[in-house]
Structure formats: C-alpha cells, structure tokens
Amino acid sequence: MSKRDRPLADYSVPKTRRLRRRLLWRLRRMRDAVDVETLEVFEHELGAFERAGVADIDRQRTRNVATSAARVATAQKREELIRSALVRAENDIRRAEVAAERLDAKLLGQDPDLHTFA
C-alpha cells in the first residue's frame, strides 16, 4: 500500500482509569474532611485532565488535517495540470486540422499558393 492510499491515523482517546483511582483513593482517605475547597481541588484536577485530553485529541486532528490537506492539494494540482494539458491538446488538434486541410486542398488543386510547395 503506497503512502497516498494509506488511511489517516486513528484517534486514541485518553484513559480515565488512573485519574479515577487516584481521586477515589483521596476521597476515601479524607472521608470526613470533605468540604467545598476539597471539591474545588477535585474539580480543578478534573478540568486540567479534560483540557489535556482535548488538547491531545486536537493535536491528532491537526496532524491528520495536515496529511489530508497535502493529499487534497496534490490531487488538485494534478487536476489543474490535466486541465491545462487538455486546453493545449485542443489547440494542437485545431492547428493540425488546419494544416491537414491545407494539404488536402493542395492535393485537390484548390490552393492559390500551390506552386510554393517543393
């Protein structure tokens, strides 16, 4: 499988098991002393973890976006090349047809500048 056909890398979602065990352990240890400040600390850790996880997923997304953007750019470049080549080929065909018609007219003796051919 060439590099162009390879699918983009899959996403890995961060695991929450370790954080859960740590938070539950701390909660059990301070079972009587739970108050608003402790819960705020918990909330702070949770928020930090969530931000880190989102940033990780965003990083993977950014990498995949770069890859697929390069792929799309290559494909569109080739498309543009083919379009200009088509235009050029049509011009060539028109000119060649004109030349062939002129030669045919010379063969049939309808051309005024027949005698310039040697």
Partner: protein, 297 residues
C-alpha cells in the same frame, strides 16, 4: 508502470510537411563538403591537363573559376533534377518539365564524360611529351603513347569519375529524401491529427481519474473529521462518567445527602459565576451539553 502522460507528455511533432531547420542545414553542409571534394579533385586534374599553360601562370584565375563551376555543376545538377522530379510527381509542375530534367541529367553525364576523357588525354599527352617540356627544354624525343586501360592516369581518371558520380548521386538522394511527395505529407498530417486526438482522449481519462482522486481525498478528510468528533464525544462522556462516579461516591460517603447536595449546589453556583471553564477548541455545540448536566461539578 505506464508512462504518466500528464507529467511526461508524448513528443508529437508539429509542423507536418516540412523538414526541420537542423536537417536543412545538414543537407547544405553535406552539399558543401562534396563540392569541396570535387574542387580538390578537379583542380588536380585541370592542373595536369593544362600543365604547359599553368606553369607560366597565364590562366590561373580562369582555371579556378572553371574548377569551381564544374564542381558546382557536378553536385547541384542532380539536386535540381531530383527536385524537378519530385515536383512533377506531386503535380506541382507539369509533365513537360521532365524534358528539362532529362536534359540536365544528360548535361551532367556529358560533363563527367568530358572530364574523364580530358584526364585520360592529359595523361597520354604527358606521357608522350615526357615531362615538363617548358622547364627542361624539349630535348626528349616525342614518343607516341597510345591509350591503355592499365595506365596510371587512366585508372586515376576512372577513380575520379567514381568520386564525382558518387557525390552527384549523394546530392540526388539527399534531395529525393528531403522532399516528400505531397500525398505523403497529407497522410502524415492526418495521422498526426489522429495521434493528437488519441492523446486528448487519454487526457480526458486522466482527468476523470484525477477528479475521483480529489473526491476520495476530500471524503477521507470528512471521515477524519467525523472520527474526531466521535473521539471528542467519547472523551467528554468518559470525563462525565468520572464526575458522576465521584459524585455518587461522595453521596454514599456522606451521611447527610442534604449537605452533599448543598455542597454540590454551591459548587454549581460558583461554576456558573465563572463561565470561562473549558473552551473546547472545535465545535462546542456538537459535544455533550455541559450546562444540562446536573452532575457537572
């Protein structure tokens, strides 16, 4: 692997019915080279032929002009004959011009014959005269020499004839090969158009393939965006699950669920007070609705 006709297009010559300028120049270089060879040969022969006069320097310029003219004629007459024959063949000139062509060919043959005979005659004269009479004084008795096939001058004359005829034939062949008949040119023009059309059709096929490839790449990009959204949703649900478990454990631990819910309520109030919590980078609407979650603290 097939040749990529977009990056390396096939070389299809334009300009049907004309030879390239490079080939044109090469033809004239060939003609000039043969004229030079003929000039060298003829200058030797004419010097031998006119040795008694040329040693006094009386006909120097005349001899140069004659030599150059004969060598030009030897090379250019077959060229002209070939061109006239081609034009008659293509119908450009009428058939009566073939008389001129035959006459020119006869002149060319007569010229070669005259030069050969003169060369042989010069050899015989030199042999009978016995050397340079003007320098040594005419003391030697004039012996009568006759024609013989094996005399060195005769052999040299025929060798020279061969070289001259070869140069004329080469110029004839060059003219014959570089002037194609009109019918061939028309056929080549038609085949050229045909090849260009085939190239055009293959380019159309390539355009379809490139279009498909672009669509494929864009679809891959879209699928990646979908998977990204899924990953975000999965992660948010995991964190929400963690929060829910923490809240459940907290409610189980506390004897008084009222106070726990009081704490939770207070946290929520603070939470609403400062809304700059986590601003998701990419679409916040598609992810889980954080405000509707009752256990968000």
């Amino acid at each position: 692997m097939a040749r990529d006709i977009v990056l390396k297009p096939p070389r299809i010559r334009s300009g049907v019915g004309h030879i390239s300028p490079f080939a044109h120049v090469l033809v004239y270089v060939l003609l000039l080279g043969m004229i030079t060879v003929d000039y060298v040969l003829l200058s030797q022969a004419l010097t031998l032929l006119l040795r008694n006069d040329s040693q006094y320097g009386s006909i120097g310029l005349q001899m140069y002009v004659i030599t150059l003219g004969i060598s030009l004629a030897v090379v250019s007459l077959p060229h002209v004959v070939a061109i006239i024959m081609r034009r008659i063949q293509a119908g450009v000139m009428s058939r009566r011009w073939s008389i001129v062509a035959v006459a020119l060919a006869l002149i060319w043959a007569a010229l070669l014959a005259a030069i050969t005979i003169a060369r042989i005659k010069a050899g015989i004269d030199a042999q009978s005269a016995g050397g340079l009479t003007g320098l040594t004084g005419a003391t030697a008795a004039p012996t009568t020499a006759t024609f013989s096939w094996s005399a060195p001058d005769t052999i040299m004359a025929f060798l020279m004839l061969g070289v001259l005829a070869t140069s004329g034939a080469i110029s004839f062949i060059a003219a014959w090969l570089t002037t194609r008949p009109l019918l061939t040119a028309a056929e080549k023009a038609h085949s050229h158009v045909e090849r260009l059309r085939v190239h055009h059709d293959r380019l159309l096929g390539e355009a379809v393939a490139a279009r498909e490839e672009t669509i494929q790449a864009m679809r891959l990009d879209h699928e990646d965006a979908v998977r990204y959204t899924g990953a975000r949703i999965t992660f948010a649900s995991r964190v929400d699950l963690l929060r829910a478990q923490l809240a459940t454990r907290l409610a189980q631990r506390e004897r008084d669920p009222e106070s726990t819910s009081q704490i939770i309520r207070e946290l929520k109030a603070r939470h609403v007070a400062e809304p700059s919590e986590i601003s998701p980078a990419i679409p916040p609407v598609q992810l889980t609705d954080r405000a509707a979650d009752p256990l968000s603290s």
